[in-house]
């Protein structure tokens, strides 16, 4: 599903690469934690998958496509197959829950009948039954993140990228968020989650990839946050 072949990314005006000769594979349906201190290259990794950045060297394949050969006007097609969740939710404050989720489908030109059918389903899936007409500022942080997840998942992407989705949320609420991510993963969606949250990583026992100074220093199935046992 995601394939990195000796990928190096150096940002302009920086001597140290953000990622350095990274080789790794993420299979379809996997759940992967991406851990490491700030500045270790987690966000760069996610941005490369979305093709918001291009690698300085190496090759990246996402959902069977060679990103180097992807023309600019085909990038939207790629992004329709990838859902994204962020630490800061990124909801539209002027739209209610239903409209926020529907927006993701409207802007890719889906018919209204289809939107009316799938949006309530996804809102239910993330556990926000009956809250479709709430505005974002009437919701708790955990609920807002659920809306963001509904928006990321509503188009049934093959990959869901989550950049510290529990970063702004207390531990108790985080468990609920992780349950939703797990539910999404069980539908066959590949999930890549960058996080600092050791408790969550330890409790889920999924594959863990640790980055340090742009290099993969650990890749462990059923791993934990800290150093390997």
């Amino acid at each position: 599903m995601i394939h990195f072949e000796s990928v190096t990314k150096t940002y302009p005006n920086q001597s140290r690469p953000a990622l350095e000769t990274v080789n790794l594979d993420v299979e379809k349906g996997e759940f992967v934690f991406l851990v490491g201190p700030s500045g270790s290259g987690k966000s760069t990794f996610l941005r490369l998958i979305l093709r918001e950045e291009r690698p300085s060297d190496g090759r990246i394949y996402v959902a069977g496509r060679d990103l180097a050969r992807l023309t600019n006007w085909k990038v939207p097609q790629l992004r329709r197959r990838i859902g994204c969740v962020f630490q800061d939710f990124r909801l539209l404050p002027t739209k209610n829950v239903y409209q926020n989720v529907a927006f993701a489908l409207e802007v890719i030109g889906k018919p209204r009948r289809f939107i009316r059918k799938v949006v309530p389903e996804v809102i239910d899936l993330v556990g926000l039954e009956g809250k479709g007409d709430r505005m974002p500022d009437e919701l708790s942080g955990g609920e807002q993140q659920r809306v963001a997840m509904a928006r990321a998942f509503v188009n049934r992407p093959m990959i869901l990228l989550a950049d510290e989705p529990t970063g702004n949320i207390d531990p108790a609420t985080s468990i609920g968020i992780m349950k939703v991510l797990d539910r999404i993963n069980r539908t066959g969606t590949t999930v890549v989650m960058a996080t600092h949250d050791a408790a969550i990583v330890d409790s889920m026992r999924k594959r863990v990839i640790e980055l340090e100074y742009g290099k993969v220093v650990r890749d462990q199935s059923r791993g934990v946050y800290g150093q390997a046992y």
Binding site: L50, N72, W73, V75, P76, Q77, L78, R79, R80, R81, I82, G83, C84, R90, L92, P93, F103, A104, E106, V107, I108, G109, R112, R151, N155
Partner: protein
């Protein structure tokens, strides 16, 4: 393609940006109507020019007994033979349509008519003072005046050649100057309009940066991301153009009203107005559309 969605976004964009949109509409309206006025001016001058061109004469003034000018001082008043020679020269020129003779008495009668309101002026003039002349009608007054003048000037008995065109040329220079001034101001305003379009789109892009970021993230095509902005710019341009059209129609009606004071058929037709209005629409659309597009390329890189 979800038209309702796109227009919903456009409406929100226009409303959030209301002051900027209004400024844009006003500037587009004024610059387009000034440009249109300039174009109407050009047409009016063309109409007038072609009307007068067909009425222009050359007057070949002949020496009279009282004429003190250099040419005549040598030879004295024109003789019958010289007169016949001048007439012959004129009618044999290919540019000349026809020639007729105006005697001193006729010239005096015409002067009496022209200066009927100025008896003081007339009191200084006596029938013998005004020279006789050959009045020459040319096939193409503008082009032919030069060669015809050259052919007869200096011939014995010829005093000087008067070209009506010279007077009109000054008049035309005035009109052309006014027209150029209008067009220069219009161009300056159009530059202001272009900058305003760019700024409005930029502001609009900034206002909608959250929406745009999400659209890019969920894979909206460039077309979908940019369309609301393009349509926004176009709608503002279009409203500006409609106002300009109204102003131009009013201007033409005003000019038409003035026509009744002149006995000459030089009024602009409705076809002229429509042509000018269509040209301004084209300029407005190209201007707003291309500026929006270029600004978007700069600020909404996907």
């Amino acid at each position: 393609m979800r038209a309702q969605f796109v227009f919903g976004e456009v409406w929100v964009g226009l409303r959030r940006n209301l002051t900027m949109t209004v400024a844009l509409i006003v500037v587009v309206a004024i610059s387009l109507s000034l440009l249109g006025t300039g174009l109407l001016f050009v047409k009016q001058v063309d109409h007038t020019r072609s009307l007068w061109q067909s009425r222009l004469d050359l007057s070949v003034y002949l020496c009279s007994a009282v004429n003190p000018d250099q040419n005549c001082a040598k030879n004295g008043p024109v003789t019958q033979a010289e007169k016949a020679q001048i007439h012959h020269t004129l009618v044999s020129l290919p540019q000349v349509d026809h020639v007729w003779f105006q005697s001193q008495q006729q010239a005096y009668a015409q002067a009496k008519q022209l200066f009927a309101n100025e008896p003081v002026m007339l009191s200084f003039v006596e029938p013998g003072d005004l020279p006789a002349s050959f009045e020459v009608k040319m096939k193409n007054a503008q082009a032919d005046a030069g060669p015809v003048t050259a052919a007869v000037l200096g011939q014995p008995g010829v005093d000087s050649v008067g070209d009506d065109g010279v007077i009109l040329t000054k008049f035309y220079q005035l009109l052309d100057g006014a027209r150029n001034a209008v067009i220069v101001v219009a161009i300056i305003l159009i530059i202001a309009a272009i900058l305003l379009v760019a700024n409005t789109i930029r502001l609009s892009a900034f206002n909608r940066r959250r929406e745009t970021a999400i659209m890019r993230l969920v894979g909206a095509s460039n077309f979908y991301v940019q369309l609301p902005f393009l349509v926004e710019g176009m709608i503002a341009g279009l409203i500006g153009w409609l106002i300009a059209t109204g102003l131009l129609a009013a201007a033409q009606a005003g000019l038409d009203g003035l026509q009744q004071y002149f006995p000459f058929p030089v009024a602009l037709s409705t076809a002229d107005l429509i042509e000018v209005v269509l040209v301004t629409m084209l300029i407005g659309l190209v201007l707003c559309g291309s500026t929006s597009f270029l600004t978007l390329r700069r600020y909404l890189r996907v």
